[in-house]
């Protein structure tokens, strides 16, 4: 049961909502793989404390003072042949494992959809 707590959107939010839909469309149709610039944006989200803060729990190449609560993020394409599964794990890891320590970045809106797309592309590249 996933309740999407979307309050009534007003016309005022029009511009931002449209920008968001446009932003979302981009990574989806990217068949040629994400650009270096997009990957760099994803890396920043992973490394920044106030954003993904993945380093708090995962070792990632190039990161410092990483935690070891979760497994090191390496060989991700082998571990997640299907990128959508990785996306789902970042979105809400409690679906696959109710006792996971991993925060539900999407379900609890810790990151935006766009940020999670960028992050997924970056993590998948590791």
């Amino acid at each position: 049961m996933r309740t999407a707590p979307f309050p009534p959107l007003s016309g005022m939010a029009l511009a931002s909502a449209m920008a968001l839909t446009a932003g979302l469309a981009a990574p989806l149709q990217a068949t040629a793989g994400p650009s270096a610039q997009a990957l760099e944006q994803g890396r920043k989200i992973a490394f920044t404390r106030k954003l993904g803060n993945c380093l708090a729990c995962h070792h990632i190449a190039g990161g410092t003072a990483a935690g070891n609560i979760g497994p090191p993020l390496v060989a991700m394409k082998q571990r997640y042949p299907n990128k959508a599964k990785l996306h789902a794990q970042i979105w809400d890891a409690t679906v696959a494992n109710p006792e996971t320590p991993m925060p539900p970045f999407g379900r609890h809106q810790i990151l935006t959809e766009r940020q999670i797309d960028l992050l997924t592309d970056y993590i998948w590249s590791l």
Partner: protein, 115 residues
């Protein structure tokens, strides 16, 4: 249980919302009168306050809701209703999420790693 991925679901939700917005946008004209922006903000603020209270009633309030609402009020005072609305909406969503979370935890017992 719906097996649709959360992303797909939210995506379609967003698309639907986007479409609805385009329609209302066309009907109302793109620029909102200051008056109605204020009214919409105030309505959202009230809803957010209620969501905050409801979350607190089950000990599920999140840390930043109060901060968002304070900031929203300050922005509204300056007349920036669009930014104020966005913050109030964020507070509203967090209130809902905190409430849902707290309800889901009311019957917790020792997790399996303790067994």
């Amino acid at each position: 249980m719906n097996q649709e991925s959360p992303k797909m679901k939210t995506l379609s939700l967003f698309r639907a919302a986007g479409l609805a917005l385009v329609l209302t946008g066309l009907a109302n004209g793109p620029a909102l009168a200051g008056d109605s922006a204020q009214a919409q903000y105030e309505d959202m603020y009230q809803q957010a306050k209620a969501a905050q209270k409801r979350a607190a009633s089950v000990e599920g309030e999140w840390r930043d809701i109060g901060k968002f609402l304070k900031k929203a009020q300050a922005l509204a005072k300056k007349g920036d209703y669009e930014a104020a609305f966005k913050l109030a909406r964020k507070a509203y969503i967090q209130g809902k999420l905190g409430y849902t979370q707290a309800l889901s935890q009311q019957k917790v017992d020792w997790p399996s790693y303790f067994k």
